[in-house]
Amino acid sequence: MAFHLDTDKLVDLDRAVRSIEDGALVALGGGLSARLPMALVRELIRQGRSGLHVVGSAHSIDVDVLIATGTVTVCEESYVGFEQDLGLAPAYRRAAETGTIEVRESCCVTILTQLRAAEFGLPFLPVRGVKGSDIRRLHPEYREVVCPFTGETLVAVPPLRPDVALIHAPLGDRRGNLHLDQPYVLDERFAAASRNVIATVERVGSAEEVAAAGVTIPAHLVSAVAEVPYGAHPASCYPAYAYDRAHLGEYVRAATAGGSELAEYLDRYLTGQPTEEAYRKLVGADRLAALGQWSESIDAWKELFR
């Protein structure tokens, strides 16, 4: 928290990520396979960060690949997976089943409430639905509180103050103003509740351009900005590009197989590529450009999902 008043926060990706410590409580922006902070995730892996406690709503390859690389100790997401299309998250599943990570699965509403407690400066907030759910068994830290008006017993949850929120945006300026397209998912709440926000943007624009597009997350909440084209790939970052379903499929197959196949994927796309530039080159300019062709026609858009 405490506002970030520096007027130029533009740094390179390496430096932005270097400020994140082992063991940090990290909020991941975006959701499902949209606007995930993948360049930041890849850089965390390249830098060999470990012991992270990740929090978020419904996520996919970002969390799974962090787990596959042994970067995560505690996972407090509401969902990790690839929906019906590609199924369960292989590394998450394996780590949970073998006990190599601690699963503190939570509920979107509870996470929202905990972020709000931090954002509102309150030491607790009440939620209701957790009472009927075994999710509560995963959270011995929850307490109870009795409503002084109705006598209803509610579950009390503590504030959630991430050390850092990792957010990818289509556009931002050097001061740190970010423009996002909807859905913002929890990004606005993460930004207000977290001590630091590290953002990557598809493109750095002028302050005027960002203001005209609309500031979704204001500069005073943001600690660093790095310009990383295709920084959400293989997730989508509309309007720039749709998600790369084929790449996600390739990952899920490798991660499901595990062992050498997974190692090969990780080496090929992550540890084997020292920079995002190298990653983009490997994925291929043609492939990346194709993901941007969704806007040409409905048929072109549909074709990306076949």
Binding site: L32, A58, A96, E97, V109, G132, S133, I135, R137, Q182
Partner: protein, 285 residues
């Protein structure tokens, strides 16, 4: 519409009939939401809005857009296609707040396990400390299930025998009653599960909050349902066949889901089940 297309709508497969059965759990003028990773429910909502529930309010499951007219349903729930033509796009918290305060009338929920009270497990099969299968997780379901007006549950994996169970290994989202108590005892305003639609038939819930078989697909027997169900199957006295989909419903469904993402929920062998309006089983078209 060509004669060929019209003829095709006389003939439909289980995924299509199933989605229409789901759609019919929606009443007109309801505010309805589906969770992500739920293509059958998602398609069903669009079918309902283009057939019997034109004045419903449809809230997309991961974009929180209202009444969009997507050019197609994509295989991922957080995609711009699902915002096209929307009259409004809610913020994440705007939707969840509305649902928690009771302004959302219906939600679709599924589960890797579902018990007789409509409790659902999307967290883990087997012991929690060392699960046999770690499922994806519940998203926002745990709180939403407490306050949303009605729940339409569904599964496309009833026949597996592993889905409708005596006891959920883990209760992610509450149905009518858990070991912690009933909804009334916990002070939950939401009405809980109203329907449970499976690829074998349709259940409602009795006054005690227990599932009761109301309708069967015509190629399914009560014995098949009993064999596939881990709890004792109550059968309604007026058990009947699942009502046939209309041509308009089938047309709406095919228009909104040209990629067939709904089919990803079914085992391949189920998808061979086809039907027609003339004959109830084994359509040859």
């Amino acid at each position: 519409m060509s004669a060929r297309a019209k003829s095709n709508e006389q003939c439909f497969s289980i995924d299509e009939w199933f989605v229409v059965a789901l759609a019919r759990t929606i009443r007109d003028r309801e505010v309805v939401f589906h969770g992500f990773g739920s293509p059958c429910a998602q398609v069903a909502m669009h079918v309902a809005r283009h057939s019997h529930a034109r004045d419903m309010m449809l809230v997309e499951g991961a974009t929180y857009s209202i009444n969009p007219e997507p050019p197609f349903i994509p295989p991922t729930g957080n995609d711009l296609a699902l915002e096209q033509g929307a009259s409004y796009r809610m913020r994440f918290e705007e939707f969840f707040d509305a649902a928690i305060r009771g302004d959302v009338d219906r939600m679709f929920l599924s589960g890797g396990q579902i018990d007789r009270y409509g409790n659902t497990n999307v967290t883990a099969v087997g012991p929690l400390e060392r699960p046999k299968v770690k499922l994806g997780g519940g998203g926002g379901g745990c709180n939403l299930a407490a306050t949303i007006g009605h729940l339409s549950l569904w599964t496309t994996r009833h026949r597996s025998g592993r889905t409708l169970v005596e006891h959920c290994d883990f209760i992610t989202d509450m149905g009518h009653r858990t070991p912690a108590g009933s909804r009334a005892e916990l002070g939950f305003a939401g009405g809980g599960p109203e329907w449970l639609v499976t690829e074998l038939g349709v259940f409602d819930f009795d006054d005690g909050g227990q599932a009761r078989l109301r309708q069967l697909f015509p190629d399914v027997s009560v014995d098949t349902v009993r064999a596939a169900t881990g709890f004792e199957v109550q059968v309604a006295s007026d058990l009947r066949s699942v009502p046939l989909p209309s041509s308009a419903e089938i047309a709406a469904l095919r228009a909104v889901d040209p990629l067939g993402v709904r089919r990803s929920e079914f085992a391949p062998e189920e998808l061979r089940r086809t039907f027609s309006h003339g004959q109830s089983v084994g359509c040859a078209c």
